[in-house]
Symmetry: D2
Subunit: 137 residues, 4 copies
């Protein structure tokens, strides 16, 4: 696979035609779907298990999304979905950018803020930080 | 609300534009979404709780869908989603038909087969039959 | 319908169970779907036609979404989806907030930036501004 | 890629977590999405262009779906989505079966009926038959 470089994680995905809207471009909400899928693949890749966390009473929760749309994907497009992670106190910020595979044209870029709840209450996030230690130096 | 009549349950729903595909009509898979929403509303209306069932180890499971597409819904359409229920041994058959609200034109019609698992194994469905007794005479 | 007040437009919507994810809460991307549906209902209500615009070569396009998630919606919830609109030069900013209907608890709030393309090129947005004149004073 | 064999077309797809419902299994409607994506990939592979057809006034339209659910897909699963095509007069029947990639366990199987409209009226389907000649002997 072609890579973009400079991210903690990259993966290739394909547009599926039912994700298009009536204008023939991928509907805006689907980019959040792509990004969620990428975060989960990253977590799996990093050995992080949502289930194991959950059974300890700990749940990562989405708090905020800022996304800019640059170039729409269309039918038949492949994309490279990229992710980097950093910590700001109790908040974990995922920088998530998507590029069109064929020419590496930027499609959209987002900052996605996740916090960690323990039995429903906000934590400092130390357990999550430990699990992703190597990405947060 | 206008009604169709002759069904166990009817409800009004609206097309949301993100359900359209590139041809400007509701994508075929979304009719299954509408029908699932209707079954759940019917269950809630009948006092049936998936959660309560689940905590007794009992889960209704979709086994089969037969759906015919007659007239596509488009942007701005409202629909009347209708449901009747019958039992054939361990199988519960939901007859689910959707009509365009404005002129009662048939949009699609389906037979949807549900069975009941108890701790993962097929049951005769007696508990479900009891919960929906009044619809199954 | 109960109203929140202080917005240009409000509408009632219901959670559909297929919008829930595995945690039993509405998946984060679906709030963008709700908000898109609300913008389109607002446009229809205001007499604005995407089709008529499109046939003049003019297309509103989503440029940016900032959304904060406060309280998740769950199965059976109704919501009041609210919208106000303002203009900043060529950009139209939709303030879109969703409240849980039963207790008016804030669910999420967003700023959504739309620009107007004419034959694919960015415009000053004067035609859109004219169509929504009464909301932009 | 592992193959199943005996079909006109096979492709590999991955479950994305937002396709799961609250029971942790892929929501029933999403299998129709997978199958649509597979049909479109098959068409592209066969050199068939929906756009080119459409500009001649010809549109393939879904008429009927019969689908049986055997084993649910869950988070992390890959699938092999298989398709064969045959003709019955004006109707084109797609046999579409999905298998779990890891062990080739059948997930669901469907018969999907498509007809061909020309300027909105049912055709005998000869143009479609010509385009897919090599699959219909």
């Amino acid at each position: 696979m072609d890579t973009i470089g400079g991210y903690d994680f990259e993966m290739l995905m394909s547009v599926r035609d039912y994700e298009l809207d009536v204008q023939g471009i991928v509907n805006n909400a689907n980019y959040l779907h792509y990004m969620e899928h990428t975060r989960h693949a990253f977590c799996r890749d990093a050995g992080f298990s949502f289930d194991a966390m959950h059974s300890r009473g700990i749940d990562p929760v989405l708090r905020k999304v800022e996304i800019e749309y640059l170039t729409p994907l269309v039918s038949g497009d492949d994309m490279i979905s990229c992710l980097s992670m950093r910590r700001e106190g109790p908040r974990f910020i995922f920088r998530q950018d998507i590029y069109r595979a064929v020419d590496k044209e930027p499609v959209c870029r987002a900052n996605i803020t996740v916090v960690c709840l323990e039995n429903g209450r906000l934590t400092r996030g130390d357990i999550l930080a430990e699990a992703f230690e190597k990405y947060l130096k």
